[in-house]
């Protein structure tokens, strides 16, 4: 079955081309079939490839397929080629299967939109680019996919381009991620100049042989690449674009800004894990970035009132968990969390999409309420997603993946317990608080808006499937102290360096799990107390000035936008204003007016009389000959 590997990205690309060239003339049904079908076929192909991968693992643990030569220079050559190993296969499975479900959902969700076909064209292109990103066997191709998904993200955030603020949001996302991309490009340039190859495996081999651990070059290279990952994955300090990216249609938020694209940074670091092993300081930095992001985003999420923005901050926070896992060397754990997160976050977004649609495009959760009875299917699936997000013990997938990361954090050398304390205790608490805040406020209480636009089958089926995955997905990897199941680790672990101190912890591990579980339950309880039990606690708090100030601070995403506005935009504006009129301009004007004056002076020579010009030529000839005689 390995021969069909190339089909997996090619199918969505074909769908994109079909839609882009013929979509305008297609009936909606045909466009939907093309758009959904291409991704569906890609998912089918992925499943087939995955099945044969599991039943008969290829030599070297990877399928390698070189399609055609791309750049061939004496000093540097690379091909358009794919390399599929366990890590890639995990990503591919998530991209195509979750992608297919979201496409199916979109075919109903977007059905009233005028540019239906264009939406699917962009989505197909996105899926294709994302697949290229994860399947690339060299960094140039990876970068192609990287920029491709960024471009699609820009298109889709601004999909409703008639609203000016959506375009602003799209631009913001594009520009902010561009900062990271430049950093990444520099990193790639450094790697190329150091090793004269872009092939990932070859590069990692040469790096391991050529670079001493902890020396300056690997630190710089990994730092630059981390810049790219941070930008794409919306981590501190480049996280500001993701909340605004919620301007796009909800399926876009689910697919691109929760499940797949934003985890490209995680993938990049995981893919180049051998490189990061050469720069322990940077790897620690990854952990710190992840920790800081997950806490800050969690705090910001508590204060949001827009349902989608809550989920956006939650995404930032959960990717922070993944970074934490990467930083402490638990790559498998990070990837496990990535997979589980894709399931439940896509679920949450899709459910939120239904809610928002049913409430007549109302985003503010405090104007909703009581939807438990109006939208029972959505309520239950949303509840499952939120539980998984809050890592309610034992029954949810999120519990298992998060526990794994926290166990890694505990073991991470000297700062381990601190990481665990902040990330585990505080993070878990915050997560369950904000997720159940959303649940209680949205689905309980009095119904304030009558529901409309109830979801059909094509929207419900993905919700159900994703809800099932959010529960069952966790059971393929269970800590040994509960039950010895380690399917995921045995599948993907071979790709990564061995996790440090991954030994089983016995009673310590049990203790840690109990504390974390307790904290997540406390979070649920706190949310209940604050937002559900009457109106008391929350209302009373809301009166105090201090609370309002904190709330506004948290609501604004901890003021990052404000800081950036003043630090970069305003200073740039000021500098521009300073330079605009006088300083540089005057010098330029002087050059210009001097030229104009010279031109006017010389213009007098342009009498229009040909004979005058000839006289000039003749004088020149006389001078030349005279010089020859005289000299």
């Amino acid at each position: 079955m390995y021969a069909i590997v190339w089909l997996i990205p090619a199918l969505p690309l074909a769908g994109f081309l079909l839609l882009v060239f013929l979509g305008r003339r297609m009936p909606r049904a045909v466009a939907a079939v093309v758009g959904v079908g291409s991704v569906g076929l890609a998912a089918l192909a992925t499943v087939l490839v995955g099945a044969s991968f599991l039943s008969a693992p290829p030599a070297g643990g990877a399928i390698e397929e070189r399609l055609f030569g791309w750049v061939s220079l004496p000093s540097l050559s690379f091909a358009f080629g794919f390399r599929v190993d366990a890590l890639t296969l995990t990503m591919m499975a998530v991209i195509t299967i979750v992608g297919f479900l979201i496409h199916l959902y979109s075919s109903e969700f977007m059905s009233r939109d005028g540019e239906f076909w264009l939406f699917f064209a962009y989505m197909n292109l996105f899926v294709s680019s994302m697949l290229v990103l994860v399947m690339a066997d060299n960094l140039a191709l990876l970068y192609l996919g990287w920029e491709g998904v960024g471009l699609c993200s820009y298109f889709l955030i601004g999909f409703w381009y008639r609203e000016p603020e959506y375009c602003v949001a799209a631009r913001k996302a594009f520009i902010v991620t561009r900062i990271g991309d430049v950093s990444m490009l520099l990193g790639l340039a450094l790697l190329v100049s150091s090793f004269a190859t872009l092939d990932i495996q070859e590069l990692l081999r040469r790096a391991a042989a050529g670079w001493a651990p902890g020396s300056a070059l690997p630190v710089v290279a990994t730092l630059l690449l981390l810049g790219g990952a941070v930008g794409k994955s919306a981590q501190l300090p480049l996280q500001v674009w993701l909340p605004d990216a919620m301007a796009g249609p909800t399926p876009v938020s689910a697919l691109i800004h929760a499940a797949t694209m934003v985890t490209a940074g995680v993938y990049l670091i995981a893919r180049l894990s051998a490189l990061y092993a050469l720069a322990p300081a940077v790897q620690s930095l990854v952990a710190i970035v992840g920790l800081a992001t997950l806490l800050l985003a969690g705090l910001a999420a508590i204060a949001q009132v827009d349902l989608k923005r809550i989920l956006a901050y939650s995404t930032i926070s959960q990717i922070g968990y993944m970074f934490l896992g990467l930083g402490v060397g638990f790559y498998s754990a990070a990837m496990f969390h990535f997979m589980v997160h894709a399931f439940f976050k896509a679920l949450l977004f899709l459910a939120a999409g239904v809610v928002i649609m049913a409430q007549g495009e109302e985003h503010n959760i405090f104007r909703m309420g009581g939807l438990r009875t109006a939208l029972p299917a959505v309520f239950w699936t949303f509840l499952i997603g939120a539980s998984s997000l809050a890592a309610l013990p034992l029954v949810t997938a999120g519990f298992y993946s998060k526990e794994w990361i926290l166990w890694g954090a505990w073991q991470a050398g000297r700062g381990g317990p601190l990481l665990w304390l902040l990330g585990g205790c505080l993070g878990v608490l915050l997560t369950s608080l904000y997720s159940f805040r959303a649940v209680f406020v949205t689905f309980f209480g009095d119904q304030k808006i009558r529901e409309s636009h109830l979801p059909g089958a094509r929207m419900k089926i993905p919700l159900v499937i994703l809800a099932a995955l959010s529960i069952l997905g966790g059971f393929i990897q269970i800590p040994s102290d509960i039950a010895p199941v380690s399917l995921f680790e045995s599948f993907i672990g071979g790709v990564f360096p061995k996790a440090p101190g991954a030994a089983e912890g016995g009673s310590t591990q049990i203790l840690l799990q109990v504390v974390a579980s307790a904290l997540s339950l406390i979070g649920v309880l706190a949310a209940y107390v604050l937002y559900r039990r009457g109106v008391g606690a929350h209302e009373r708090l809301a009166d105090s000035d201090a609370y309002r100030g904190v709330r506004r601070f948290l609501f604004s995403g901890l003021g990052f936008d404000w800081v950036y506005k003043w630090a970069f935009v305003k200073t740039f504006d000021c500098a521009a204003k300073l330079l605009k009129g006088e300083v540089v301009g005057r010098a330029a004007d002087a050059i210009g007016s001097a030229n104009a004056a010279i031109g006017r002076a010389l213009g007098a020579l342009q009498s229009g009389r040909i004979r005058w010009y000839l006289v000039g030529i003749a004088l020149g000839a006389v001078a030349a000959v005279g010089a020859a005689v005289w000299l």
């Binding site: 342009q606 009498s607 229009g608 009389r609 040909i610 004979r611 000839l614 006289v615 003749a618 000839a621």
Partner: protein, 102 residues
Amino acid sequence: MSPQFSDYALVVAAVLFALGLFGVLARRNVVYVLISVEVMLNAAGLAFISAGSKLGQPDGQVMFIFILTLAAAEASVGLALVIQFYRAYKTLDTDSARELKD
């Protein structure tokens, strides 16, 4: 054959060139300007040929042939311009075509 021919021929070429230059500068009629240019080209050809003869090389004649081609191309384009000039201004006085100035 006198060995000094080529020296005198160079002097003749210089005289012809100066005459052509005079014509180009003094005449205002485009046709005369063209005639004078041809004279100057001829003078250059004579100079090349006498130099080639003096040095015993065929290169002088080769250059003359190139000058000839140049003259042919120049004459054809130049005459086409003269015709258009006359159509536009109903005169051949170069000084009447002074629109470029404004």
